[in-house]
Amino acid sequence: MSLSPDNARQSAPEPVVSDSKALPKVQIRGVNFFYGSHQVLRNVSMDVPALKVTALIGPSGCGKTTLLRCLNRMHDLYPGNRYEGSIQVQPDGTDILGSGVDPIQVRMRFGMVFQKPNPFPKSIYENVAYGLRLQGMNRRRELDERVEKALREAALWEEVKSRLHQMAHNLSGGQQQRLCIARAVATDPDVVLFDEPTSALDPIATSKIEELIVELKKRVTVMIVTHNLQQAGRISDMTAFMYLGELIEFGETNRMFTNPAKPQTEDYISGRFG
């Protein structure tokens, strides 16, 4: 049960095709990521299926959050980072790691929900409307409709509909995170990225958000990084297990949890390390 580099290299992952017949939403091919001279991601390739929840799991430092943040080019905000490889988004096939591609445009197609709720110092309404305004929407009625739709999708509408113009930071932690989800889905992104969205929340808030995500996947593709194996088991359709920057195994969640192919996967899932 050793995790020597030899083991890992032998099982170098080829592009794992999901078992759905439809075109995958995001095709990740041979992605390396460097922070300065330090390599954080090694030759990661996978197909993220459309309209499903894909979970990224693995021990701390395995690169799952780094991979997630490659998808919406968040690393561009900090100096010293370098991408290699390609990430193609369907149906147009644009490679978002391409040199001519504008990160701002990429971020308009991907929504992101962060580990700690981060509502803006604005009203609830204006938080949700922020992305919509960025996309050029400024007619009051249109905004009202879209804001309500987003808040309903985030299961928050009933709780805030009478106080839309109050400041967002008055909400509880769970409500704030749902507000951030509403903000992310308001602009109809292609994919929503969740970075450990419930790690700062209590169990009740957590389960509300998990229900939400299962609903959301009917409309958008979801990728979620989680430290919580049970959560991955509860809500995801596909699971990717990463270790030390490599993708070790990727497949249907049920199968991976009951019958993992790789020994490292089995070790992690059964709690022998992590």
Partner: protein
């Protein structure tokens, strides 16, 4: 909306946002250089008008009604003696106050009041310190329009600077150090004297230099206590040739100072007085800028040497 159309719109917006960003970056860079450039222009102006005027004669002559014969002897001697008084007043009290407030004072309403008080003092216009000195030191305590009154006025003025600098440098020391000292049985004073002060000398020294730099350039408080009279003599020397070998007469002597002298010359018409003023200003700027530069370098070195 059709995905193709949406893409095109998003592309347009992204491009516009990028253009705005690079334009603002250019604007910010330009404005930064311009603002700093003003400092350079100031120095250049002073140098062009005053550098030629600075020579041994200028440094060793008293002011005179004839611009060509005037000099800054009484002014720079006055500034020197003034700083002696200011430093003696501000540094001990300021450092003591900083240590007390940061390490000893309990967190109650009184301490909060003292902190608000210091914040206010830092923003009190300098001329009000002059008025206080006029009423209190010059007349009430009968120190007269003297170096003592002026030095104390400036000492009060820069006291908040020293206090704040002392507190800030004590604050950067992590509490673990204090706890380690106490766990070994040190008294609070021993912890301060043996552990905290040695680590914060860099920050305190920086604050002291900045305070003195500020004091050297102040003129409003000195004008108010009446330091502008035409001073064509030097205060009596602090050291004398017979017992007890030190004299305090100089403290009660009238005086002038560099910024006062510059102000005097600026107010007079005529190009020669203006070049005198420029010369005095140049000397002031060199002193001020070098003290500030020294403080900045000191702060950097202190931060680098001790990493927690």
């Amino acid at each position: 909306m059709q995905p193709e159309l949406l893409r095109k719109l998003q592309e347009g917006r992204a491009r516009r946002r990028k253009a705005i960003d690079s334009n603002f970056r250019r604007l910010g860079f330009f404005l930064t250089l311009t603002t700093l450039g003003i400092l350079g222009i100031l120095m250049l102006n002073l140098a062009m008008n005053g550098l030629a005027r600075i020579d041994w004669q200028f440094m060793s002559s008293f002011p005179s009604r004839r611009a060509g014969e005037a000099g800054i002897l009484s002014a720079w001697v006055g500034t020197l003696l003034l700083m002696l008084v200011t430093a003696s007043a501000a540094i001990p009290f300021g450092v003591a106050a900083g240590i007390y407030l940061e390490e000893y004072a309990p967190k109650n309403r009184w301490t909060a009041f003292v902190e608000i008080n210091i914040a206010n003092l830092a923003g009190v216009p300098s001329i009000l310190y002059g008025l206080m000195a006029l009423g209190l030191f010059v007349y009430q305590f009968r120190f007269g329009q003297s170096l003592l009154s002026g030095g104390l006025a400036l000492g009060c003025l820069v006291l908040p600077i020293v206090i704040v600098a002392t507190r800030e440098s004590l604050r950067t020391i992590p509490s673990g150090i204090r706890e380690a000292a106490f766990a070994l049985g040190a008294t609070r004073w021993q912890a301060v004297w043996h552990h905290l002060l040695p680590y914060s000398t860099g920050g305190i020294a920086t604050g002291v230099i900045l305070a003195m730099s500020r004091a050297i350039g102040e003129s409003a408080p000195l004008i108010t206590i009446g330091a502008l009279t035409f001073i064509a003599f030097l205060p009596p020397a602090p050291l004398i040739s017979h017992a007890p070998f030190v004299s305090v007469d100089w403290l009660f002597s009238p005086f002038t100072a560099l910024p006062i002298q510059m102000f005097n010359w600026v107010s007079r018409p005529g190009e020669e007085f203006q070049s005198n003023a420029a010369a005095a200003g140049l000397i002031l700027m060199v002193i001020t800028l070098s003290m500030n530069a020294a403080a900045i370098l000191l702060r950097r070195r202190a931060q680098r040497n001790i990493t927690w």
